[in-house]
Amino acid sequence: MKKFGPAALAAIALLLPACSSNSSSTTTTKAGPKTIGVSIQDLEAQFYQQMEAGMKSEAAKFGYKVTFVDASRDSARQQSQVEDFISRKVDAIILTPYDSQAIGSAIVEANNANIPVFTADIANASKQGTVVSHVASNNVQGGQQAGMLMCAAVHNAGSVAIIDEPEVTSVQDRVRGFRMALQQHCPNVKVVADVDSGGTRTKANADTGDVLQRYKDLKGIFGINDDSALGAVAAIQAAGLKGIAVVGYDASPEARAAIKNGSMVGDAIQHPDVIGAKTIDVIHDYFSGKTVPARIDVPVGTYTKANAQ
């Protein structure tokens, strides 16, 4: 019975003001198109544009009406967007929170209106609010992909360094996966340095220089994002060194160019379009009355010179 709650409430609410839009007036019957409101933290980012495309094409398959709004990296704006969705009585809300703590109160509002909330890419980290399902990259597995790239690049032996940003949870997962892969696949590769460069290119560049100075026999560097990896590449070039394998994460256009010209060996690559599509799939399952898992992992792939042609 519980899942008919939102529909029933919406129907009651619709009886009061007779001027509501036609899209939500059909929620009582199963035949009409379901509406989904999506608030994305930053639609200017390529990553989220790809996620949006994945959602759009998957929603078209099921005939859902999807509305996208850009929170423009502003928590207050995201909150009011959720409130707009509630007053428009959408059937489901998808969020990629800008602030994983601050999003809690918006989710509570949607919960109170009996609208199911799903998160994509970034989870609700606050103690408030209930999210039906969270869909995101499996960063541990992504780190493992990066680790296996590293094993192959250094021929299963030697010392490597990690240009880290340990205060970010997704990065912690990446590094955990990276270390796990080294242990399993190439135990002779040792992580000799793990420095916190804050994920920025300037600091990664400076810190890599210091690491290269201390470990003259360094064989490889794992940058936890592409800015870290590209900062390391610049430091290696400035030191006039060659043959140090750099592995990054995300495969941004610049990293792809670096992989193509050989200054990086490869990247772990997330699939935001798949994250988008899977989020729509889980909503479809939920609408059809299936029980859905609280967390759905989307595998992370690799991007190497073979992909760069």
Partner: protein, 325 residues
């Protein structure tokens, strides 16, 4: 003037002696990796950016002002230069020179905008440059669409991380030496430099003495903006791209720290480019040494903050001691 020159050299000598002792201690602790020529050269290359930011800031701070916009201006000029370099059909030296001029012009223009409300309306530079910090960062993100702008030309690589004589003299270090000499002469040996000190010492007295205070103040903010443009150019060349995220972290605060550790007074009227060089060198040495000694990165912040505090406290105590003697 002569006594002043003597204390100036005494201060510089003291700083050198302090750094030498510190370097020897660190070298011992790091089993000799610290003072290897390659490492020393690398530290010099690494402080280039902080030092050049600090030079502009030194001029501003001596007039008792402050420029908070330099980090954002590095981001903005880097993006503008990368877009310009990709759009123009120039090659080789002409491309590099034209791109640098564009960066200096954008930085200088932003500095001019910083100065106008300070000079005309007597508004605090803390506020006007804080506003510019936001404006420049926003523009940088708008122009770049939030993404780094990769350089299509490879002509900048040599400027960014090339070197003379097989990695012995990195090209950024040559830029640093040129900036060091030109700015020192400008501040210490010209009438303009004397006006900068006079305004910082006592602005009203400077005005009564017939100094065109407005023009001199405008000039220092323009210089600061141009220094940011030059750092934007060097970072863009190093990374082969102009990114809106470049230098938007602690870079501006580190530059101010270098200036203050170098003995320039935030109250204005006192300071030196050589001091800023030693300030940047001390911070760069410490960063490098702590990485070599594998000190935890959070502890590194504590140590760095402590050193900044210690440096200014020691400088103040030394000044009081000299006054009494």
């Amino acid at each position: 003037m002569k006594a002043e020159t003597r204390t100036y050299w005494l201060r510089a000598g003291g700083a050198v002696a302090f750094l030498i002792v510190l370097a020897l201690v660190i070298n011992f602790a790091s089993h000799g990796t610290f003072l290897q020529p390659g490492n020393v050269v690398r530290v010099l290359r690494q402080i280039t950016y902080n030092f050049i930011m600090g030079v502009g800031e030194t001029f501003v701070i001596i007039t008792a002002g402050i420029d908070l916009s330099i980090g954002s201006l590095i981001s903005l000029t880097g993006v503008v230069m990368a877009l310009f370099a990709n759009a123009t059909g120039l090659h080789g030296f002409a491309l590099i020179a034209a791109t640098l001029i564009v960066g200096l012009a954008v930085g200088g223009a932003a500095g001019f905008v910083n100065a106008v409300p300070v000079v005309k309306l007597n508004l605090p530079p803390f506020i006007t440059t804080l506003a510019m910090m936001q404006i420049a960062l926003g523009l940088s993100y708008i122009l770049s669409g939030g993404q780094p702008v990769p350089l299509q030309s490879t002509d900048f690589q040599n400027t960014g991380y090339g070197s003379f004589l097989h990695t012995i003299v990195p090209i950024p270090v040559i830029w640093m030496i040129v900036v060091l000499i030109v700015s020192s002469v400008l501040l210490m040996r010209t009438r303009f430099g004397r006006y900068v000190f006079a305004i910082g010492g006592n602005e009203e007295a400077a005005r009564l003495a017939g100094i065109s205070v407005g023009r001199v103040k405008t000039a220092v903010y323009v210089i600061s903006g141009m220094c940011a443009g030059m750092v934007g150019f060097l970072y863009m060349s190093l990374f082969s791209s102009g990114s809106p995220q470049t230098a938007t972290g602690n870079e501006m605060l580190n530059a101010i720290a270098a200036v203050v550790v170098g003995g320039t007074s935030l109250m204005g009227g006192r300071g030196a480019i050589v001091g800023t060089f030693f300030g940047a060198l001390l911070i760069g040495f410490l960063d490098n040494a702590m990485n070599l000694l594998q000190i935890n990165s959070y502890l590194q912040w504590v140590v760095l903050g402590g050193v900044i505090l210690l440096a200014v406290v020691l400088d103040e105590l030394r000044k009081r001691y000299l006054k009494r003697a």
